[in-house]
Symmetry: C2
Subunit: 370 residues, 2 copies
């Protein structure tokens, strides 16, 4: 549990720099990050975490009494019940530790929760803050990297399986379902519902296979598969293209150029410690433009961790810099609306002088027999 | 789409009664209820809805341009883009319709969203409100009832399948996975991750089969299965008990008494229009106590609809009354900690003079061969 202690220490340091005495954490993923305490749902506010200079408390109800959080000695678990609600606990702790102010997560806290805190804890000044913890989560520690690596391995395995079963006549949703089954059968989870998009659907950047998903594999089809796996709460994210039988030469040429562009970002020095990620985004778009291919409307990449979309952002508007141990996606695409589209995406880790791919499934044009 | 127009009219009436000019709806399920507009995720704030006396607007981004909401003529779809953000749209509409106040959903809106609205729309007074729409959702219209009935049918079918496959040696998570597979294979979804709890785990009222789930079926086992299906966004919720081989007579007797208590609530006049639901809760607990069985720690039931937990609440603290066309669960239980527990649960509809079960899977003690 050393990594937990280190995460709490990093947060304490960040609070001190901002002259904040304490923080009341409400966000599900931030609580999971700081304490490894996990509730059944992400949205029903089943837990809270309070970090002060001296202590850390997790609050939750009796359903979680036997949870693992009790097993470490730098977090105190407090049971919420009709007799002891969160407000009572906070009131006592604030008095005991002589706190006069407490940061809250403005992006997460509901308006009524803020109003309740203000109403019942009038001696405390609650200070809305943004992104303190999510910015700590931007660079991954060793425990996180190992988990993401494993999630990436499982997604590679899933692609190997899927490449064996795609046949002419299969529907998009059938392929997606088989992938979900493959992942869950082994006791893992999906990072998000798999996107399987065939032919003109592959040109839709955020195609919803669950709601739509009726297009069938045909001879000559372009198939885009974008999905991810969760291993011990950590996500992977990967996109690969499959082509069925005799595919148009222009399509394969386009794919090879897209692949080469994506691969170029792995060259030493292109993405390295301290580089502006907006420049990385521009560099990738320029490579695509140099092949006389149209620009893509989405960003070039995003952080991956407990959530499948985290910081940093690799987009033209990004103000983020690349840092060692960020885990991000690199995912340029080429789309011809109404015809077909393609994307090549890896989950990668930022090293001192370049990127290392964590998803390793082959990128050679994957041809499926008719 | 008549039901949509009726829902908007009911909301307009509710707003008028509270002297509110307009409401800005942020909650995913409330937007789905009012417009049938559905985004990919429940939490990433991909859409908003504004209802005024004269108009209804849905705001979302280009991913949803081809969505069904465009097909009716009483909702205007407005595209959020870098050039036209929500604030700009609201500003224009408020000016055009000469609005000076607007209700917001205090239980749903994030603090930073409220702060942005206040900052950029200073001429409008934003009024925190609670539960206006969720209270309308408490009684179901015909379209909703048909969908819930179908969700209940599918869950009955799933139980039939599951009853055929349970054998000695199977793990809880294996049974849960097979149920999930059965449901998703047919193109439906689960209301929540199935709870499959064997022996002493069946005594834990909110057992998490996904995280735990390693207990195996043994000869003499008590197996609790609590799950639900979503059909076209509407949920079912059902719990049944299975017993393996020669089960202790005391266990079967307890089951029969629990079943009889649950069935008693279906008698004419017990739950009928205008009854206090706290009295229904007390009545059910009294039946259990009359059999000299211990009281259960959870509520006797809850509303079911777009969400698996909605209003009304059937608990001792409930201030809700029963009303025609509420859809609720009836789910008393008996738990012996560390030994075994059982629950019998149906999704039911409230009629004028009683309850009608929508889940119909047999309640006779289900004995699985050794």
């Amino acid at each position: 549990m050393l990594h937990i202690q280190q995460r709490l220490d990093r947060l304490r340091k960040a609070l001190k720099e901002k002259k904040l005495d304490a923080i009341l954490v409400s966000n599900f993923f931030n609580i999971l990050y700081l304490s490894e305490f996990k509730t059944l749902t992400e949205n029903e506010r089943e837990s809270w975490l309070l970090l002060t200079a001296d202590s850390c408390y997790v609050f939750s109800d009796s359903r979680y009494l036997d949870s693992k959080v009790l097993e470490n000695n730098f977090i105190t678990y407090l049971l919420i019940s009709p007799e002891n609600n969160l407000i009572n606990y906070l009131d006592n702790i604030f008095k005991k530790e002589r706190l006069v102010s407490c940061a809250i997560e403005e992006y997460d806290l509901k308006l009524y929760e803020f109003n309740l805190l203000k109403k019942y804890l009038q001696n405390i000044s609650f200070i809305p803050t943004r992104q303190i913890i999510i910015r700590l989560r931007e660079t991954k520690d060793n425990d996180e990297i190992q988990k993401i690596k494993k999630a990436c391995e499982i997604s590679d395995d899933c692609l190997k399986e899927v490449s064996k079963i795609i046949t002419v006549g299969m529907m998009e949703k059938e392929i997606a379902f088989k992938m979900e089954f493959f992942i869950k059968e082994k006791g893992y989870d999906t990072s998000f519902y798999p996107i399987v998009a065939i032919d003109r659907n592959s040109a839709i950047a955020h195609y919803d296979t669950k709601i739509n998903g009726n297009e069938k594999v045909k001879i000559g089809s372009v198939i885009l598969i974008d999905f991810g796996v969760k291993f011990q709460n950590y996500c992977s994210d990967i996109t690969r293209m499959f082509f069925v039988g005799q595919v148009d030469t222009q399509i394969i040429n386009t794919y090879n150029n897209l692949k080469a562009s994506q691969q170029s970002l792995f060259q030493k020095g292109i993405v390295s410690q301290g580089k502006k990620l907006s420049d990385v985004d521009k560099y990738c778009r320029k490579l695509i433009a140099d092949y006389e291919l149209p620009d893509y409307s989405h960003s070039t990449g995003h952080g991956v961790g407990l959530e499948v979309h985290e910081y940093p952002k690799i987009s033209s508007f990004s103000e983020d810099l690349s840092k060692k141990n960020q885990v991000v996606t690199i995912e340029p695409g080429v789309y011809f609306e109404g015809k077909w589209g393609m994307r090549v995406e890896d989950t990668v880790i930022v090293n001192e002088d370049g990127l290392e791919a964590l998803t390793k499934f082959d990128k050679e044009p994957f041809l499926i027999k008719e």
